[in-house]
């Protein structure tokens, strides 16, 4: 699945803007039930995806956790599914808390890769229930959205729904589509009139038939930077793109906007690898992540949406409209069915390749 390395380049600019807010956040909100310094001498290893994202996680989750408990947090990574599995097989994982994509969470539950979340330590009630799993707690949300060029489609004439993406008469021009079945099949079915509640299991034949109607007008992207470039260069006028990429392009002055209608949300989870030697401390680090000030700090740094709705109270009003879980946006979309994709990714990827060649 696609993983957005995100609006990485915006980090420094945002850092400056939120420095004051950050100072306030770090000082506040000691995790419940842990005495200050209760974990001093302990070391917890946190693994994520590197780059600006992990840097933001370090500042927003790990530092407040270390300050409150006295534990030392070591950064490691990048997260790699094969490496994660090998660690579990070896019986003593190097990592204590790890950031994983939704598809790996569902695959890993089946293969018993994770510790159960200890709800006596992690206050899961803070988190929107849609992002809480027995084995992982959602930390950020991002989404597949309909993006469009404001130069081609001025206000009032802009595309709004996935049906518009397939309407080549009303919205002529080249389209961008992610080059994988994930989300693309859902989008085709939504455009064909299937209600989100009736989507799964996906009717792949129907989806591919619908996709046939725009195939010759479509440019397929394989990386997120490519999707952004297609819009910036004017190669496409509308299409599927991740919300963070539209935010980044718009901030840099590109004439681009997005619609939140039927956006397809994906989630990163924090998990504890099975057999972690610091299980309790790992759970405490996850609990620190669930706190609204910490999630707000991360969103201000890197524009990834929080899973704790209360975080919006401290999120920069310039960033908030771009976030998938903004109360104004979150109900217009839905979370991708990772259990479906766990069971059908292989077969659907083969069919996708055949469809592309056909």
């Amino acid at each position: 699945m696609i993983r957005d390395a995100g609006a990485a380049t915006t980090r420094r600019a945002l850092l400056r803007g939120s420095a004051a807010a950050a100072l306030g956040a770090a000082a506040g909100g000691l995790p419940r039930a842990f005495a200050a310094g209760s974990l001093s001498g302990k070391t917890v290893v946190f693994a994520s995806w590197g780059g600006a994202y992990q840097e933001a996680q370090r500042a927003s989750y790990c530092e407040p956790f270390a300050a409150a408990t006295g534990a030392r947090v070591v950064q490691d990574g990048p997260m790699n599914p094969a490496k994660f599995r090998a660690m579990i097989e070896s019986g003593s994982p190097d990592w204590d808390v790890c950031d994983v994509t939704i598809d790996f969470l569902y695959n890993g539950i089946g293969d018993r890769l994770f510790e159960k979340i200890d709800t006596s330590i992690v206050d899961t009630k803070r988190i929107d229930p849609r992002f809480v799993n027995e084995y992982g707690i959602g930390c950020i949300v991002w989404s597949y959205n309909l993006g469009y060029s404001t130069a081609t489609y001025p206000a009032g004439k802009e595309p709004k729904t996935w049906a518009d993406l397939f309407d080549t008469r009303k919205f002529p021009g080249k389209r961008a589509l992610n080059d994988e079945p994930v989300a693309a099949l859902e989008i085709a079915l939504l455009a064909d009139g299937v209600a989100p509640a009736q989507l799964y299991p996906l009717d792949v034949d129907r989806a591919l038939k619908k996709l046939d109607t725009i195939k010759s007008d479509t440019i397929f992207w394989t990386t997120n930077s490519q999707s952004q470039q297609l819009f910036v260069d004017g190669e496409v006028s509308l299409g599927v793109i991740l919300n963070g990429r539209v935010y980044d392009a718009a901030k840099k002055g590109a004439p681009i906007a997005l619609s939140w209608e039927q956006s397809i949300q994906s989630v990163d989870y924090l998990v504890v690898p099975r057999g972690s030697r610091n299980r309790a401390a790992a759970m405490q680090l996850i609990d620190t992540m669930t706190q609204p000030e910490n999630q707000a700090k991360l969103a201000n740094m890197i524009a990834y949406a929080p899973t704790n709705p209360a975080a919006f109270a401290s999120i920069d009003p310039k960033v908030a409209p771009w976030l998938s879980t903004n109360p104004a946006n979150v109900q217009r979309g839905f979370v991708i069915d990772a259990a479906y994709w766990r069971d059908h990714l292989k077969a659907n990827t083969e069919r996708w390749a055949a469809w592309k060649l056909g």
Binding site: A82, K174, D179, T218, F220, D233, A353, L357
Partner: protein
């Protein structure tokens, strides 16, 4: 001429590097085709049962077969000018052909994107000249892929051709024409056959390199330019299927071997060794 064999030990370091950095990992991957997830031929059965895999292998061979003659046709005049032009021309041409070698493949692919995109310089110039009304679709299709592949592969065909042409005795063409052959006939009957060793070396290099292309089709090609390296990458990175990836690699290797053998039988690959 028979060379004494006593300096063969000098090959050892190179062979050692090849064994450790190439034979061992490649052999490891290929052996996975027969051992993962279970010992047996199930991975090949799977490739056979899911027609998409062999279709992509065929597609890959087809794309390489299109790219190769285009590269040869474009490279031939360059090699010819390098051989028969003045020393200044030669120096410049060698420099220009080498420059792409010093540039990363990714940089060159993105440069091609900039050149060929809808609002890029190529379409802009053609429109300014009034030759076209709408921008031509030069990217994300076979044209884009070939543009990206051919410019990268040109040196592989130019240099062997240049080496072959240098060895052609100039008086041979004069002799042919003195004996009454028109220039075209002299070229086809005398010059061209003498370039064949270089031409076949270059064409073989281009063909085999294209078979393994990964970055170029992903960035410059369209949906129909799906190539086998992309499938192998998916099998490993997305699904962790080392067995299927190994089997796909073996099928590609076997197909390449069979094609080279066919070429050897029909055109004479022995010419390369000359």
């Amino acid at each position: 001429m028979k060379r004494p064999a006593r300096h063969l030990w000098l090959l050892l370091p190179a062979l050692l590097v090849l064994a450790v950095a190439f034979l061992w990992p490649v052999g490891w991957l290929l052996s996975r085709a027969f051992t993962q997830p279970r010992p047996g031929l199930q991975n090949f059965v799977l490739l056979w049962q899911h027609p998409i895999y062999l279709r992509v292998v065929w597609n890959t061979i087809l794309i390489s077969a299109i790219a190769t003659p285009i590269t040869v046709l474009l490279g031939f005049p360059v090699a010819h000018a390098m051989t028969h032009g003045g020393p200044r021309t030669r120096r410049w041409l060698i420099f220009l052909v080498l420059v792409p070698f010093w540039t990363s493949l990714l940089v060159r692919s993105f440069a091609t994107i900039i050149l060929l995109q809808r609002h890029g310089p190529v379409n802009g110039t053609l429109r300014a000249l009034g030759l076209i009304g709408q921008p031509l679709p030069l990217l994300h299709n076979l044209t884009g892929l070939l543009a990206g592949a051919v410019q990268v592969l040109l040196p592989f065909v130019i240099f062997p051709l240049y080496a072959a042409m240098l060895r052609i005795e100039p008086s041979l063409m004069q002799a042919a024409m003195t004996l009454g052959a028109r220039p075209v006939r002299a070229f086809l009957r005398v010059y061209l056959p003498l370039t064949l060793p270089g031409l076949m070396t270059g064409a073989t290099l281009v063909f085999i390199s294209t078979l393994g292309y990964f970055v170029t089709p992903a960035l410059l090609g369209g949906p129909r330019q799906l190539m086998v390296a992309q499938l192998i990458q998916d099998e490993i990175a997305q699904f962790g299927n080392w067995g299927v990836a190994g089997a796909l690699s073996l099928v590609l290797l076997a197909a390449t071997g069979a094609l080279l053998w066919l070429l050897h039988r029909t055109v004479g690959l022995g010419a390369i060794a000359r």
